[in-house]
């Protein structure tokens, strides 16, 4: 069983297997399940992600509060004009990440990756790479196991909960997971995956969790957008051979310690940050009335 990114890399080097394979084998061993069972369950999760992405970019999704919905579709339509600044692949990831998180806010069906609030980043990046890298279904399932391997290390050594560690623990972790998996899918080495994860998470450090009216909507949907774009840029940095000066495990540890030193007002309590702005407060009142929350 691996406990750190360092141990994960040691296994891949010793046995000359990809990160996804290490995760699959560990799952088989710990839960005494067959490879087919585990692949089938991940295949099901992939289908759920695919359906949420499709729904979000095609339908006018609206949340119950009315705060979010429709922006993923708006961006997706804008990309089709071929007149974007960032380029189609990057924005495709962003549109699909937002679309998924809008479906989440509207109480639609999603797959948490690693949480519901950060559910857009991993599928957003994955489905944006589909046209470029033309992966088989198995490669897409492997993408999720590689993402899971890095999320597994973060969850067990730091935190993936916004209430415990701020949004850096949710969208930050999700972005690191997606970047590492993107590197593997693009043919990079396990070490490059770890570099991409470290670079991504470094750039998300300090991200507070300050949901307006306590809802998983504002700023969550657009933070999923930021996470997805950060992941793709960092994956390219790593594929170009750029290394993180601070190793992934130490970045994860830094993230944890930053989370612990954040005041509780900035950890999913809706008492600080954007939630405490005049507009944030007004929206809270409009949605929930004057009832104290």
């Amino acid at each position: 069983m691996f406990h750190s990114v360092k141990e994960l890399l040691e296994i891949t080097e010793k046995r000359n297997i990809p990160i996804s394979e290490v995760m699959i084998e560990q799952e088989m061993e710990i839960h005494n399940r067959t490879r087919d069972e585990i692949i089938a369950q991940m295949d099901k999760n992939l289908t759920v992600m695919e359906q949420a992405v499709e729904r979000g970019i095609k339908e006018e999704v609206k949340s119950v509060s009315g705060l979010t919905g429709g922006d993923g579709k708006k961006l997706y339509n804008y990309i089709q004009t071929n007149d974007t600044l960032a380029g189609p692949l990057l924005l495709d990831a962003v549109a699909k990440a937002m679309a998924t998180n809008e479906v989440n806010a509207a109480m639609g069906t999603i797959c948490a990756t690693p949480t519901a609030g950060s559910a857009g980043v991993v599928p957003g990046v994955l489905f944006s790479l589909k046209d470029k890298l033309k992966p088989e279904r198995e490669d897409m399932i492997r993408f999720l196991f590689t993402s899971g391997a890095f999320g597994f290390v973060v969850a067990n050594n730091a935190s993936i909960s916004g209430a415990a560690g701020g949004c850096q623990a949710e969208v930050g972790s999700a972005a690191g997971m997606a970047a590492a998996a993107a590197v593997e899918m693009a043919g990079g080495t396990p070490k490059q995956s770890a570099e991409a994860m470290a670079i991504t998470l470094k750039n998300m450090l300090g991200l507070v969790c300050d949901p307006v009216a306590g809802l998983v909507e504002v700023p969550c949907v657009k933070r999923n957008a930021a996470g997805a774009s950060n992941a793709i840029v960092s994956a390219d940095l790593a594929l170009a051979g750029i290394e993180s000066r601070i190793p992934a495990d130490e970045v994860i540890d830094a993230m944890y310690r930053i989370g612990q030193s954040m005041p509780s007002a900035l950890r999913e309590t809706a008492e600080g940050g954007l939630a405490a702005t005049p507009t944030g407060r007004r929206l809270q009142k409009e949605i929930f009335g004057s009832k104290p929350r």
Partner: protein, 220 residues
């Protein structure tokens, strides 16, 4: 290790918007429903901490009621659960508690039908994982790290051995176990943490053993 499975990270499949406040709540409701075994006529739901403060925005209310109606975390009917409860004649009351509980996401569910009553305290510990802290006055200590089953039984000799034998037959290893009873010869409870997932078929088999009244599992 708090998280043992990759599906704790890539998953669960669920109805949004929050794994702790929606998926976790649905799972607690579903555990209560499995233990009560039948559609209750009424449900009193006491909410504590963050659950009390944010339950409407996170759909914690519909998720809890959806679970009590028998819906899993990914059931698309969850958003309509309150309306469906009304149609099924289940009276639901939410009570926002001012006092904090030990855990920020705590709920006390009381269910009733005719003379039957059941009370359960559950907490949602993040990522859709839940723990049951109390059942009908029995205090439970579960790590939440392993799949667990709850067995309500009569305090009779052989009851515990028969459950352990049924698990052994399927090569399922018991990692941790607690037994407690209200009084000698009265209602008793077994909490069994196991290493692997327990199938629905095996749960049914345990439920049909003599002296066993109710059985349910907490995690997948």
């Amino acid at each position: 290790m708090k998280f043992r499975s990759v599906f704790d990270i890539i998953g669960p499949v669920m109805v949004g918007p929050s794994s702790s406040h929606t998926a976790g709540a649905a799972r607690i409701g579903l555990v209560a429903r499995h233990l009560f075994q039948t559609q209750p006529e009424w449900a009193d739901i006491h909410l504590y901490g963050s659950f009390a403060k944010t339950y409407q925005g996170h759909g914690t209310d519909v998720a809890l009621v959806g679970g009590i109606l028998g819906f899993d975390t990914d059931d698309p009917r969850i958003p309509d659960a309150l309306k469906m409860a009304e149609e099924k004649g289940m009276k639901v009351t939410f009570i926002e508690e001012k006092d904090d509980h030990d855990h920020p996401n705590t709920v006390r569910i009381r269910l009733g039908k005719g003379d039957d009553r059941m009370e359960l305290v559950g907490i949602s510990i993040g990522g859709g994982k839940v723990e049951v802290k109390e059942l009908d006055g029995f205090k439970l200590r579960l790590s939440g790290n392993h799949p667990a089953i709850l067995v309500v039984h009569n305090d009779r000799y052989g009851a515990i051995a028969s459950v352990a034998a049924a698990l052994a037959e399927e090569e399922i290893n018991i990692g941790h176990m607690e037994v407690s009873r209200k009084d000698k010869g009265k209602e008793a409870l077994m909490v069994i943490e196991v290493d692997q997932n327990v199938s629905t078929e095996l749960l049914k088999k345990i439920g049909s053993l003599s002296a066993i009244e109710k059985v349910t599992k907490i995690h997948d």
